[in-house]
Symmetry: C2
Subunit: 177 residues, 2 copies
DNA sequence: CGAGGATACATCGGTTCCGATGTATAAAAG
DNA sequence: CTTTTATACATCGGAACCGATGTATCCTCG
């Protein structure tokens, strides 16, 4: 997920690590902070895989900046990851939001719609957090107010997202004539 | 988080690893599956810390079961983790839901309310995913339909949860007279 | 002019995660 | 009667994560 965010931000414009960190923090930091000790190794991984290039820009501000630029292969990799996300990227909201944040980089409306449809299919599966045997329990059936809260919140999220998904899919279908 | 779920489930009743896995899968598996190779080491960690005990129950079904029982120290540790969750457990929805799923084990309504209040404070912070400088952007200001979706969904979730939090806090306050 | 804070990068070590793989047994299906 | 599926546990190795810590510069404010 971190790697996707790095590729996504660099697709717009070259950045150095520190600025990248600020952007990633703005995007997902309030939920899950990004440690520098996680970011720099991730940058190195992507560099080793030749998905990005590093150009040292000496002493303009403080320590010498390493400006990171996405390579062509990096751009292709970004599009691959966006077009064909792992199941976890679809089901886990944190990951899903990261996919959504950069989905516009996947230029083809059909391909974008296909990704949204995977999320739609997931949300339409009858899943709960609590079961009586195999039967999913509804909020009303729980005594525990906290567990009832989980279901209430999840249901509201799900409703809002389903509505959004359906209207967005409609307009993507219209765009893809 | 996994550890919290293990402690939480064992607080109700002793279980062997495989059954534990099924319960955790029912709880959070549709979002984030639990690998056995994550579960068993986690059990071992908790056992080494003397938070749970293992009793081998030979050949009743298939392979010999290791029935896991929470120790007294394990119960205390569960309550400690519930009463004083890390910031990440409050901000990350996946983790937060796990806290909520077991919050009833924290018997004191005041203590339960204190945890909910931390989540409330977090949700009331003016946070966005996208900024113009320091100013959080609203959904309407974004061209990108996917990013607009993120904000729309996040807002709906947040509204639903705020409503639930406030009513639940009211009734907890009433219970704690 | 000295202190503090922001900028910028980096490493280290411990912990955790997880896919792949292995070993058995018992029950159900064909 | 044999294959498949479910039960039940376990290890290994590579990857990822992350808190702590270190280094060095520049800017601002008192």
């Amino acid at each position: 997920m971190l790697e996707l965010a790095i590729l996504g931000f660099l697709h717009d414009t070259p950045l150095h690590g520190y600025e990248l960190r600020k952007r990633i923090t703005a995007l997902t930091g309030h939920v899950k902070p990004v440690a520098e000790s996680t970011l720099y190794p991730a940058i190195k991984r992507l560099e080793n895989a030749q998905l990005l290039e590093r150009a040292t820009q000496p002493g303009s501000v403080a320590a010498p900046r390493h400006v990171l630029t996405l390579t062509e292969e990096g751009g292709r990799e970004l599009r691959r990851r966006l077009a064909d996300p792992a199941r976890r990227d679809i089901t886990d909201e944190n990951r899903w939001f990261t996919v959504l944040a950069f989905l516009r980089h996947l230029e083809d409306p059909e391909a974008q719609a296909a990704v949204l449809r995977r999320r739609l299919a997931f949300l339409e599966e009858p899943a709960s957090f609590f079961y009586d045997g195999d039967r999913p329990l509804r909020a009303e059936e729980l005594d525990d107010p906290f567990r009832r809260g989980i279901l209430t919140i999840a249901r509201a999220t799900s409703q809002a997202e389903l509505t959004w998904l359906r209207t967005t899919l409609d307009s993507l279908d219209a765009a893809g004539h």
